[in-house]
Symmetry: D2
Subunit: 326 residues, 4 copies
């Protein structure tokens, strides 16, 4: 299928922060972008081959989906995170043409977004009535429907950009101006993203039930090799409460010797450990590597052990008549 443009699925509908994240991927503007009604559907499009990759939230999203993402990629057919994207979370208030701020009484948006704009609301539209929406974008687009029973919507700036029929009444109305959230681009297993020196590796590690202290053992596989963690979450496996896996982000790339060694350690403790990708950090902050955990130190240590195992020059053995030396 040469010449075809790539197809991306994403947690929809159009105009959400997730689509904003997707737009940061080079070439995504010209690609086919298919909104999905939930994270599982977005990922299944990739698993089934109808999309090349899916953009889904992985942390602290205003519109949920985070634990769904963690759980969805930890099970089922294997997937790989190939890119991380950060999106500033900035809210706007949109309305139908002609509506003025003073007219607004009933406001729709996703519950999380509503929670994050309460200070602004209390100050500028005291007594505003909240109308739940299934997403920020759905709330905004609902304004265009004939029987809409609310006056305004809180949504991402992207919606207003894409939909000229929805003028912006107010910008930056979120209570936390520096808010940022993380998204990941997920594809089927393939060529690993290149090492950049500022990478992240994600794994899902089932907790072995039969050994006390297994959590410390798992974390020690990283600590022992000087690998820092930037995220850890215990997640119930969904089978029944009490069975857990750990979803972990660690600093570095599986192509780094210390990370490869740590992953091998994880696999021994928990053979069902799943590798979910090594990919560049969105903030491009280089990982500080201590000299004794560098690739060079790993190579030197392996050579040293090899040299011990290879000592065959002298044939001295205990108690069996050592060979003469002079």
């Amino acid at each position: 299928m040469p010449g075809a443009v790539p197809t991306y699925s994403f947690l929809g509908p159009e105009g959400t922060f997730t689509e904003a994240a997707l737009m940061q991927v080079p070439g995504a503007g010209d690609a086919v972008r298919v909104p999905a009604s939930n994270v599982n559907a977005a990922l299944d499009a990739v698993r089934q081959g109808s999309a090349h990759a899916a953009m889904v939230p992985i942390e602290n999203s205003v519109e949920g989906g985070v634990t769904a993402t963690l759980d969805a990629i930890a099970g089922g057919q294997e997937l790989r995170i190939v890119r991380e994207v950060l999106v500033p979370i900035s809210f706007v208030l949109v309305a139908r043409p002609g509506t003025r701020l003073g007219d607004v009484r009933r406001i729709s948006t996703h519950g999380h977004a509503w929670a994050q704009c309460r200070l602004w609301m209390d100050q500028h539209i005291p007594g505003a009535e909240y109308v739940p929406g299934s997403s920020t974008a759905a709330a905004a687009m609902g304004l265009l429907e004939p029987d809409c029973h609310y006056d305004a919507a809180i949504c991402a700036p992207l919606v207003a950009q894409e939909q000229p029929g929805l003028p912006v009444l107010a910008e930056n109305i979120g209570d936390n101006p520096g808010a940022v959230t993380r998204f990941v681009l997920v594809s089927r297993p393939g060529k690993l993203p290149e090492r950049t020196g500022a990478d992240k590796t994600t794994v899902a590690v089932p907790l072995p039930e039969d050994r006390p202290g297994a959590l410390m053992e798992i974390l020690d596989q990283f600590a022992n090799r000087g690998v820092n963690l930037s995220r850890i979450e215990s997640r119930p496996t969904g089978q029944y409460l009490g069975h857990y896996f750990f979803s972990i982000d660690a600093d570095g790339h599986v192509g780094d010797a210390r990370m490869a060694d740590a992953l091998a350690g994880l696999h021994r403790i928990s053979p069902a450990t799943r590798f979910l990708g090594s990919y560049p950090r969105a903030d491009r902050q280089p990982i500080e590597v201590q000299p004794h955990t560098s690739d060079r130190a790993f190579a030197a240590s392996r050579n040293w052990v090899e040299s011990i195992l290879d000592t065959e020059s002298l044939q001295v053995e205990s108690g069996s008549g050592p060979s003469p030396t002079a």
Copy 2:
């Protein structure tokens, strides 16, 4: 206000799994139950004194709110978890009176619930169209509105019980029959729930930024005293990415000597550590305590150290003319 019934807020609307969780609290059936549009609002009702306690989801809910709960109780005015409740997650399909299963084409529910009933849907209503709802209960109640544009809703059994106008077309339509989720009852700080021997303690521990290996140090405070963890999640503080706190559930009660000692250790490493409650485990499974971490062992070890510090009987000191002994 003597004689008044207690007031509970909960993540609404009415008929959700969260209300089902609340109904498990003794006396809640006769109490005032106030639905809130999101977790923060439910908790604020407690903080502001308009509710005595709030029931909110803490894990793996079909309707989200989990990370919101963790974040909300980790900051702001102090709150305490006083009870944990498990609710089996079982879905029913409801419709308006007269609708038969074969008539159903458009179905509304919360996105997470939709994701969890897909196998049943594919089998029994192939090609069903999904209409997003802001909650399972809202989707169900929407059926009663005159201009409803969908045929059926997926919701918790509680809705159907409370609302006779919504007959059940099918029961147990979830893909995972054993699914269970956890909720917590949250109040302002007060008398701690009694020790039962099957308790859980929740804390929020900000990660000290200035020390590498701080995560291992934090976890070692528990491991060192033989305290197991049943949940751990790193959460961004919301200020900016890179600042984290850990939300942790540990086995035991702060009234247990080993837990009190572990918490003291946490406080030294991270003085802003927040205690979020000690309360009985919903599964009532007793904690196995190793002899060397029992209250008795802690008392014995303290006595031993005291006896060393109190040796004043003999006045022998080095180099200053020890007193004669004979």
Copy 3:
């Protein structure tokens, strides 16, 4: 026995490095000093009350006795280290009056001392014949006996100072000019030496046989409280091979909160742990204490836990009719 001078036993004979260590104790010059033929005998003199304290080697001595010291104070009636002394290890060659260096052929000393002067010997008296002695001092004093069959002895400078009949043929003949060794003054349990901020604590910790990983658990009691170790040795208990105890020197005084807490942790893991003393370091190098392991941090953490346990002001309890708030 008012007015009596103190009595010190020490690993003899007179003129050894151990007596040189004893002479560093204020007042020891005027005290009664009783040489003992071995470390056990020196310590038994203290246990039985015939000496107030005993000076014995604890590390790297040229004349042995080290492991004997560790084992002897780890068992039997309790003893306490109350002072640590460093002695520079410097050797001299002594002979009978009239003997010249060129005449020396046969040399006596303790085997360890002989090993430490070999470079000098090879250079200045090549082909010298070694005559074993039971101590450096015994070898030197043997020169004064009529039937002595060797020409010179290697010994501590102290011997030559105390015995004018033994002129020094050569000084500083040791191969390692900076060599220093450690001795300890041991008494029966009594008042602890004062905290100086530059202290050391010695313990003997039997290894619990029934738990794998017990060594790491033991060491973690120190690491967890930010206490550094300056010495650790596993020692067989003497009963049979395979049973061990650990002899450990740790930085700090049992009067320091972090050390008291670490010792309490040791006692829980291994209740037969023996406290062998807190005493000033001979090198007077102050211990660096991290803020989070200071006495202040320990007090603050205890207060915090107490405040959690004492919350009785509000009578809110789960599910039992929380008290009204307004």
Copy 4:
């Protein structure tokens, strides 16, 4: 030098427990056995090629030499332990022909041996006078000299066996009937002893000065791979107090994957780590290996990581036009 018998040096003189240890080596009875006056001399004979191997004490000997052995093999030209030997420590009382027990007043032996026979002495020869000897064997042989000024000697049974001129007055006179001590046979680096499943590995690990917590890091290299330690000692390097190395015995053979991996970890932390040998345990007690630290688990974990690194089949990469899949 074909056909020549092997030459062994040992800590002498003849008749000591060390020679008894050497006699346990197959073929040693017919070999050339050269006593050395101290441990360093015994080892230097091996380093210089005049002996094929040296037998020296490594633990708790009645005649010292232990720390000397640890220090001597940790520095200088590399040596390897190739065999471990256990010797029961049993003492006999010997005298000149014609002497009866009732005649004995003055007794010579090494100081440590004297200390270990005190109970028997107090009971059978109360008031016996101690005459220090440089070794048990030297004390015994001294009885044969014309001008001997003592009546009897405490020594190893071996002396009496080899020297018919010294009848045994009493056997098993040690206070601890089950006493056993360890010796090691040391050679130059050569072919490693075969894996037996009941092996021991000895290393010397200099403590890195520049990192706090380095001791725990060192020990974690073993714990992390499920390797138990049977001995650990911190030793001053001899340069000046404060610089340490750790002398460690660990369960297993460098040919075991978990041990090889642990040694590699040590080398990264402390590149001057010295491998001192893998050899069969004298007690032949097999090492229990947990499944997740077996050679098989290590091979499986390496294969898994390799499979991750080798995923080149699909050429999908983030943001660069993923290849079509259908």
